[in-house]
Symmetry: C2
Subunit: 237 residues, 2 copies
DNA sequence: CGCGCCTTTGACGGCACTCAATGAGTGTGG
DNA sequence: CCACACTCATTGAGTGCCGTCAAAGGCGCG
């Protein structure tokens, strides 16, 4: 997924403070979502704590200010699927119907900005640009989910790992595009990729021995991006 | 890959509006999507022909009037993922960004109603109810996709087949909820469920021998719904 | 009737899972 | 500061589910 449109939130300069609209000197092409800022409040969640639970009524939407969040679905017998990992700048909960269909848990310590859902709805019913933004967000999420269907349905373990590392690399605009932070555990990765923790380890070990990546604590370094991309077998186009 | 798309434009029977989706006896609270009807035109597509291709610019959105459609994604080497099957009454193409990320192909002979995307956009920018409807549609699609992630990532072959049969049963409000039409080939089912055609056959054979279902041409009959539901291991809630 | 396509069934093999043990990193209390 | 406990990651051995390869039905159609 090449330069896939990512949910990019412009840095809200002052996440904690209310924006005085009048005092803004020259508002850039503003993100419609900025309209929400004045209704937001910050929330800190500790690592491994639950932010919201599958089936909860959707009371709030969230933006991640820092940290990493996983969205989790469970089967009765404990089998787990991590639908996605969300990083700083990402939004979630906006696509909810009346209830959430995923739990959300903090992978690391997390700071969120939380917006009342009724304000989201109110803005969607009164501002076309805002409604449009919500719709585009949903479309992007849907596209990402579709890519994941291909990954889970048809890719081998090696391809899944390669795709995952590349995806995380693209989502982190870290100044160095070779270092990829992976704040989540091997278990989380496995449950995201439809593998077991052992398989994740083994594939990473193979990639390391081949010189494709270097494995470090909390992340990997991409040493042969072309090789990794080849291995990822991304869909055409 | 398949032959070229044959598009037969039939005169829309009712240029005005109200296409009578399912001949509702009473003029219910109207669907915001009805606003689109006056801009729609009917299109017939023959079985196995392509409706739109992955990567195409999104010119149109569609509603299925009759028949069955599959949404397909391909890897370079030909591996295939069928993202979803769509039946009469279902809509697709509304969630597109500028391009489609799935191809759409006719599983059976299909009649579609086609709406210019620019009209969809125009209505979304001028009618809140319409924008709301689009957003809800995207949310529903997203929820379905999430369920499929669990299926592909964590369920066994038997569970996938059971889940699929039950899902198709629920989507077809056929007067008899035991008979489930399956217009798609075993290959299509396999590519939807992340299995091979042989595994699909074998699992169906097992279910048949167990008396859970009866396998007929073009569909199955559910003989033990409770057993099937147990086997499907649906997520909690 | 024969051809082609799809489905079904069988035999076999491999990729990824399971079970198990060891290693590495972190936090805690003596 | 170090021993200990605990968690997570890594590696190995063996197994099993499902994929691959192959052949035999079943059904429609010319």
């Amino acid at each position: 997924m090449h330069g896939m449109t990512q949910i990019v939130t412009q840095r809200s300069a002052n996440p904690g403070r209310q924006m005085a609209i009048a005092s803004q000197p020259r508002p850039e092409p503003r993100d419609a979502l900025d309209l929400l800022e004045q209704f937001g409040s910050n929330v800190a969640i500790e690592r491994d704590h639950e932010i919201l639970s599958q089936g909860d009524r959707a009371e709030y939407c969230y933006k991640i200010l820092s940290g990493c969040v996983r969205r989790v679905k469970l089967l009765e017998d404990g089998r787990r699927q991590v639908g996605e990992f969300l990083m700083a700048g990402d939004l979630f909960g906006f696509e909810a119907l009346d209830t959430h269909d995923f739990s959300a848990e903090a992978v690391s310590d997390v700071v969120l900005r939380r917006y009342p859902r009724r304000m989201v709805e109110a803005l969607a019913e009164s501002q076309f640009a805002f409604a449009r933004r919500l719709r585009d967000m949903a479309a992007v999420s849907l596209r990402l989910a579709h890519g994941r269907l291909m990954l889970l349905g048809r890719k081998t373990a090696s391809e899944r790992i390669a795709s995952f590392v590349l995806e995380m690399a693209e989502r982190l605009p870290g100044r160095n595009d070779r270092m990829v932070e992976l704040p989540m555990s091997r278990t989380d990765m496995a449950d995201h990729l439809g593998l077991t923790i052992e398989t994740v380890c083994r594939v990473l070990a193979v990639l390391r021995r081949e010189g494709t990546i270097a494995v470090a604590r909390g992340g990997v370094e991409i040493r042969d991006r072309a090789g990794l991309e080849l291995m990822a077998s991304e869909p055409r186009h």
